[in-house]
C-alpha cells in the first residue's frame, strides 16, 4: 500500500497517455475512472482515522521522492504524496465525480471534433485535482492544479456551447492564469517567511510556528486570499465562473465546479489558515464582507437567471460563500463544516450540471421558457432526480448539504459560546445574513423546478424520452452519495476530526 497514492494520481495521467497513443477513448477513460474509484474506496477503508497526529498533520500512505536538493543534500522539494482526513475527503469527491463525468460524456461518435481530446482533457483535469489534493509538498500542490488549466481552455473553446465559447475560454484562462500567478507569488513569499528551507507543507507549518508571525505575514495572507479566492470565485473575483460553467461541456462543468474549484478553499484551509493565523484574523472582516457578496449579491442575480445553466453556474458561485464562512470562522466546527460542504456541494453541483446537460441534449437549449413546463409528466424519473438534486442544493435535511451547512452555521456561533459573550460579533451577524442565502437558494431552485417540470406542457414542445437505465447510473451514484452522507455524516466526519484538531489552537 506504500505507493497507492501515486497509483491514484498517475492512473488518470497514464490513461490519458494511453488514449493519446491510440487506446479507445471512452472505454479507457471509464476503466481508469472506475479503477480509481475502487482504489480510493479501498484506501478509505484502510485509512486509520485515529492515526497519530504530528504537528497538526497526520499523513498516511506517505511516499516521497526528492526532486531538488540544497547544498547540504537536504530535500528542498520532493514529489511527495500522502493523505490525511481532509485530503481523503477531497480525493473521495474527485474519485466519485470523475466516473460520473465520464459516463455523461457523449459517445465518441457524438463528439464534434477530436473525441480523444475530449476524454483526455477530462482525465487531465481530474488528475490535476487528485495530484493537488494528495500532494504534501507545496510546490506540487500548486503545480498539479496548473495541469488542469490548458485542458479546461481547450474543452471550453473546442467543445463548449454557445457562440461566445472562445471568448469564454480566453476569459477563464486569463483569469485563472493571473490568479495562479498571484498565488505563486504568495506561496513563494510564504516559503521565505517560513524559513526558506523546505516546501514540505507540514514542516512549513511547524517552522511558521517556531519563527513566529511577522507583520509582513498579514500581507502574505492577503495575497494568498486573492490568489486562492480568484480560483474559487470569491466575490469580486467571481465573474469568470458562471459563464464558463454555462458554456463548458457537461463533464468539464462537473469536474471544474464540483472538484477543481475546491482547490482554492482547500489551500486556504490547509496552508493559509494554519501558517498565517494572525493574517487570517487580521483579514477576517474583509473575508466576511466578500462572502456576503457571494451569498447575497450573486444569490440575487441567480434568481434573475433565465437559463438553467447560467443559474447553476451562479448558484455554484453563491454557495462558495457558505464554505468561506466555515473557513473564516477558523475553528474546529467551522472547518469541519467547510470541508463537508466542499464535498457535498461538489457532488450536488456535479449532479445538477449532469442533469442540465441531459436537458440540453434533449431540447438543444437550456432556456427555461423555451423548454417550457410539464416535463414531470413526460419524464418522471428525470423529474424525481432533479427534484432531489434541487433539495440537496437548497440544503434540506437528509442530504449531505444540510449536514455540512448546519456545521458551518454552528461554527460561526462557536466563539460566542466559548467566550460567553451575549452580543453578536461580526462573524455571527454574517452568519445571520448568510442564513438568508438558504432562502434565496430555495427560491431559485424551486422556481426552476416549477418552470421546468410542473404546469402544463408547452404547446409544440418536442417529444423527449425519459432517462434510460444507462443514463441513470451516474446520476443515481451521485444522488446516493448525497443521501448516504446526509443520513450518516459520521462516515466522513470520523476522518476529518483528527486532521482538523489543528484549528482548536487557532480560533478565537
Amino acid at each position: 500500500m506504500t505507493h497507492v497514492i501515486e497509483f491514484i494520481v498517475f492512473l488518470p495521467l497514464l490513461a490519458a497517455l494511453a488514449i493519446l497513443v491510440g487506446a479507445p477513448a471512452r472505454p479507457t477513460a471509464l476503466a481508469a475512472a472506475f479503477v480509481g474509484l475502487i482504489t480510493v474506496l479501498v484506501v478509505a477503508f484502510q485509512f486509520n482515522p485515529d492515526h497519530e497526529v504530528v504537528g497538526g498533520f497526520a499523513y498516511q500512505f506517505t511516499s516521497s521522492l526528492p526532486v531538488l536538493l540544497d547544498a547540504k543534500g537536504n530535500a528542498v522539494l520532493s514529489l511527495a504524496f500522502g493523505l490525511d482526513g481532509m485530503s481523503l475527503v477531497m480525493v473521495l469527491l474527485t474519485a466519485l465525480v470523475l466516473p460520473a463525468a465520464i459516463l455523461v460524456s457523449p459517445p465518441e461518435s457524438g463528439i464534434k471534433g477530436n473525441p480523444r481530446l475530449y476524454y483526455l482533457s477530462s482525465l487531465l483535469i481530474a488528475a490535476g485535482a487528485l495530484g493537488a489534493f494528495c500532494s504534501t509538498d507545496l510546490f506540487f500542490f500548486y503545480a498539479f492544479h496548473e495541469l488542469a488549466l490548458i485542458p479546461t481552455f481547450l474543452m471550453i473553446g473546442m467543445f463548449g456551447h454557445g457562440a461566445n465559447r472562445v471568448k469564454t475560454a480566453w476569459t477563464i484562462t486569463l483569469y485563472l492564469g493571473a490568479g495562479s500567478l498571484v498565488l505563486l507569488g504568495g506561496l513563494v513569499a510564504l516559503f521565505y517567511a517560513s524559513g526558506g528551507t523546505t516546501f514540505d507543507i507540514s514542516e512549513m507549518v511547524q517552522q511558521a510556528k517556531i519563527i513566529g508571525p511577522a507583520e509582513s505575514d498579514r500581507w502574505v495572507y492577503l495575497v494568498l486570499l486573492i490568489g486562492f479566492g480568484s480560483l474559487v470565485s470569491l466575490f469580486p473575483f467571481h465573474t469568470w465562473a458562471a459563464r464558463a460553467y454555462a458554456e463548458a461541456p457537461t463533464p468539464t462543468a462537473m469536474l471544474h465546479a464540483g472538484v477543481l474549484k475546491k482547490f482554492g478553499l482547500y489551500g486556504l484551509l490547509r496552508i493559509a489558515q494554519p501558517m498565517l493565523p494572525d493574517g487570517a484574523e487580521a483579514w477576517q472582516n474583509l473575508v466576511l464582507v466578500l462572502l456576503l457578496g457571494n451569498i447575497l449579491f450573486v444569490g440575487y442575480s441567480t434568481i434573475a437567471q433565465k437559463r438553467l445553466d447560467l443559474m447553476l453556474g451562479n448558484s455554484s458561485v453563491m454557495h462558495m460563500g457558505f464554505i468561506f464562512l466555515g473557513v473564516a470562522s477558523a475553528n474546529v466546527i467551522g472547518a469541519h463544516g467547510a470541508v463537508m460542504l466542499m464535498f457535498a456541494h461538489g457532488i450536488s453541483i456535479a449532479l445538477l450540471f449532469a442533469l442540465c446537460g441531459g436537458l440540453r441534449e434533449r431540447f438543444g437549449s437550456t432556456d427555461m421558457a423555451e423548454i417550457g413546463g410539464g416535463l414531470a409528466t413526460k419524464m418522471p424519473r428525470f423529474g424525481i432526480i432533479f427534484a432531489m438534486a434541487a433539495f440537496a442544493s437548497i440544503g434540506l435535511p437528509g442530504f449531505a448539504n444540510f449536514a455540512s451547512e448546519i456545521l458551518v452555521f454552528f461554527g460561526a456561533f462557536e466563539p460566542m459560546q466559548k467566550s460567553g459573550a451575549t452580543t453578536l460579533g461580526p462573524l455571527q451577524w454574517t452568519c445571520v445574513l448568510a442564513l438568508w442565502g438558504v432562502v434565496i437558494s430555495a427560491v431559485y431552485m424551486l422556481r426552476a423546478f416549477r418552470r421546468l417540470f410542473n404546469g402544463p406542457v408547452r404547446v409544440g414542445a418536442p417529444d423527449c424520452a425519459d432517462l434510460t437505465p444507462a443514463e441513470q447510473v451516474p446520476l443515481v451514484l451521485l444522488l446516493g452519495v448525497l443521501l448516504l452522507v446526509g443520513f450518516v455524516p459520521g462516515l466522513l466526519l470520523k476522518y476529518l476530526t483528527p486532521s482538523l484538531e489543528l484549528f482548536s489552537t487557532l480560533g478565537r
Binding site: 526532486v67 481530446l117 495541469l147 473553446g157
Partner: protein, 495 residues
C-alpha cells in the same frame, strides 16, 4: 582524453562531409546529414569521457577552460546541432526552391552538403566558445561562429527575406564585432592582461574604475547582440524570420547559449570586484528590465510565428540577464547564478528546438509561417499540435514542464538579491507570455483551416515526417515533461 579533442573531431567531421560530397558521388545527400548526426552523437558520449588537464598551470589552459560549465555548454551545442541537421534533412525541398541555383547537369540536391558542413563548423565554434577564457580565444571563437552564420543566414539566396536577413545580420554583426574588439582592447589597457583570471586580479586591485567601465559598456553592447538582449536586440525578429528555419534554431539556441557563457565569463571579473560590482549590477538590471519589456510586449502583437519566437527569445534573454544581475548577492538561494543560467539555457534549448522542429515541418507543408499556418493543426496533425502545445506550455513556464523551473530559479535568485523592480517586470512579462504562447495553442485547436477542397490544409504533407525528426521530437517532448518533474538530474551535471 582532453576536451579539445572534441572540437577537432567535429571539425574533421565537417571536412569529411565535404570530402564525401566532392569525391564520393553521394546519390541521396541526406546520408551526409546522417553521417553528421551519427558523428555528433558519438562526440556527445565522448563528452563524458573527457579528462581534466594534467598540468593546469601551463599556457594552453589559460586559453581554454574545462570546468563542468564548459562541458555542459558543449553538450548543449552538440545536441542543438544534431537537431538542426535533422531539420536540414526535412528542409531539402525548400533549399531546392530557394537555395543556390542548380545548373542543368548538377545533382538535384547540390548545395546541401555545405548546409550540413557549415553547422558542423559552427558547432565546433560554439564548443570552443564554451571553453574560452582568454580574450583572444573568446574573440576568435566568436568570430568563427559569427562568420559561419553570415553564410548560413543568407543561404536561401533566391529568397528575398533570407537575403535581407543576411545583409542585416552581416552589417549589425560586423558592428558588434567592432564594438567587442574595442571593448576588449580597453579591458586589456585597463588591466594589462588577456586571460580572465589575471583580469579578475587586476580589476579587484584597481583604483580607477573608469577605463574598466568604459570597456564594460562596449563589451556589454557587443555581447547583447550575440545573446539577443537590449540595447542591440533589434535584429532578431527580422533575421529569425528571414533565415532558413534550421538556421533560426541554431541562432536561437546555439548562438544564444554560447553567447551567454562567454558573457558570464566576461562579467565574472567585473562582478567580483568590489569597486565595480554595484555599478555592473545596476547596468545589468536595467538591461534585464528593458529586454523583458521589449521582448514580451512586442511579442503580444506578432502574427508570424518565427517573429514570435524571435521576440520570445529576446524575453528569455531578459530572464537570463536578470539571473546574471543577481550574481553577487545570491547567498542562500538554492542554486548559483551560473547554474541558474545554465539550467535556463538547457531548458530553453530543449523547448525552442522542439518548437523549431514543428515549425519547420508545418511551414514546409503549408508554405508559410504565420499564425494562420497553424490554424486547425490540432485536427490536421494531432501529433505535431500536441508537441507544439507542450513546447508553448514550457515556454510560458507552466508548472511540471522544464520551462517552469528555469523561471523559478531566476525568480528566486532575484528575490535573494532583492531586485524587486526587475522581478516585478519579469512577473508581468511571464504573464504576458501566457497570452502570446496561448495564442498559438488557440490557433491550432480552436480555429479551423480548410483548403479549397474543404479538407484540412496540408494534411497529407504534414504526416510525412522523417524518422529522425520524429524520434528527436518525441525525445525532446519527453525531456520537457521528465525534467519538468525531476529538474535535479540536470542540475547534477553542473555540480
Amino acid at each position: 582524453m582532453p576536451a579539445y579533442y572534441l572540437e577537432i573531431i567535429v571539425v574533421l567531421l565537417g571536412l569529411a562531409v565535404l570530402t564525401f560530397d566532392a569525391v564520393g558521388r553521394v546519390e541521396d545527400k541526406r546520408s551526409l546529414a546522417g553521417l553528421g548526426v551519427l558523428g555528433l552523437v558519438v562526440v556527445f558520449f565522448l563528452l563524458f569521457k573527457t579528462s581534466k588537464p594534467a598540468d593546469p598551470g601551463s599556457v594552453f589552459w589559460k586559453f581554454y577552460a574545462t570546468d563542468s560549465l564548459a562541458l555542459f555548454f558543449k553538450g548543449i551545442a552538440i545536441l542543438t546541432t544534431i537537431v538542426v541537421l535533422l531539420m536540414a534533412n526535412d528542409f531539402i525541398p525548400v533549399l531546392q526552391r530557394f537555395g543556390p541555383p542548380v545548373e542543368a547537369k548538377a545533382h538535384s540536391q547540390s548545395g546541401f552538403a555545405e548546409f550540413v558542413a557549415l553547422p558542423l563548423f559552427l558547432c565546433a565554434g560554439l564548443m570552443w566558445m564554451a571553453s574560452a577564457n582568454h580574450l583572444v580565444s573568446i574573440f576568435v571563437s566568436l568570430e568563427l561562429v559569427t562568420v559561419t552564420f553570415y553564410v548560413l543566414v543568407a543561404y536561401l539566396r533566391r529568397h528575398e527575406l533570407s537575403l535581407e536577413a543576411g545583409v542585416k545580420y552581416l552589417i549589425l554583426g560586423a558592428l558588434s564585432t567592432g564594438l567587442l574588439v574595442y571593448g576588449l582592447a580597453w579591458l586589456y589597457g585597463a588591466t594589462g592582461a588577456l586571460d580572465l583570471s589575471s583580469i579578475e586580479k587586476a580589476l579587484s586591485a584597481t583604483e580607477n574604475p573608469l577605463p574598466a567601465l568604459f570597456a564594460l559598456a562596449f563589451i556589454l553592447a557587443a555581447m547583447a547582440f550575440k545573446v539577443g538582449a537590449l540595447p542591440t536586440a533589434f535584429w532578431i525578429p527580422d533575421v529569425y524570420q528571414g533565415a532558413p528555419t534550421p538556421v533560426t534554431a541554431l541562432l536561437a539556441v546555439g548562438s544564444k547559449s554560447a553567447g551567454f557563457i562567454v558573457l558570464m565569463r566576461l562579467m565574472t571579473p567585473f562582478l567580483k570586484s568590489e569597486l565595480l560590482s554595484g555599478k555592473v549590477v545596476a547596468v545589468l538590471a536595467i538591461m534585464a528590465v528593458a529586454t523583458l519589456l521589449y521582448g514580451n510586449f512586442a511579442a503580444l502583437l506578432q502574427t508570424n510565428v518565427k517573429r514570435l519566437l524571435g521576440y520570445s527569445s529576446i524575453s528569455h534573454a531578459g530572464f537570463l540577464v536578470l539571473a546574471l544581475a543577481s550574481a553577487p548577492s545570491h547567498g542562500g538561494a538554492l542554486e548559483t547564478p551560473a547554474t541558474t543560467v545554465a539550467f535556463y539555457l538547457a531548458s530553453y534549448a530543449i523547448t525552442a528546438l522542439l518548437a523549431c522542429l514543428v515549425l519547420s515541418i508545418v511551414s514546409a507543408a503549408r508554405h508559410g509561417d504565420d499564425l494562420d499556418s497553424f490554424r486547425g493543426l490540432g485536427k490536421a496533425s494531432p501529433f505535431l499540435a500536441l508537441l507544439m502545445l507542450l513546447s508553448m506550455a514550457s515556454m510560458a513556464g507552466v508548472p511540471l514542464t522544464i520551462g517552469f523551473w528555469g523561471k523559478f530559479f531566476v525568480f528566486q535568485q532575484a528575490v535573494f538579491s532583492r531586485l524587486w523592480l526587475p522581478l516585478g517586470v519579469a512577473v508581468i512579462g511571464a504573464a504576458a507570455g501566457f497570452y502570446y504562447y496561448f495564442r498559438l495553442i488557440f490557433s491550432m485547436y480552436l480555429e479551423t483551416a480548410t483548403g479549397a477542397d474543404g479538407n484540412p490544409l496540408g494534411k497529407d504533407t504534414l504526416t510525412k515526417i522523417g524518422a529522425g525528426s520524429r524520434i528527436a521530437m518525441i525525445l525532446l517532448a519527453l525531456a520537457i515533461i521528465g525534467f519538468g518533474f525531476f529538474p535535479g538530474s540536470i542540475l547534477a551535471l553542473l555540480r
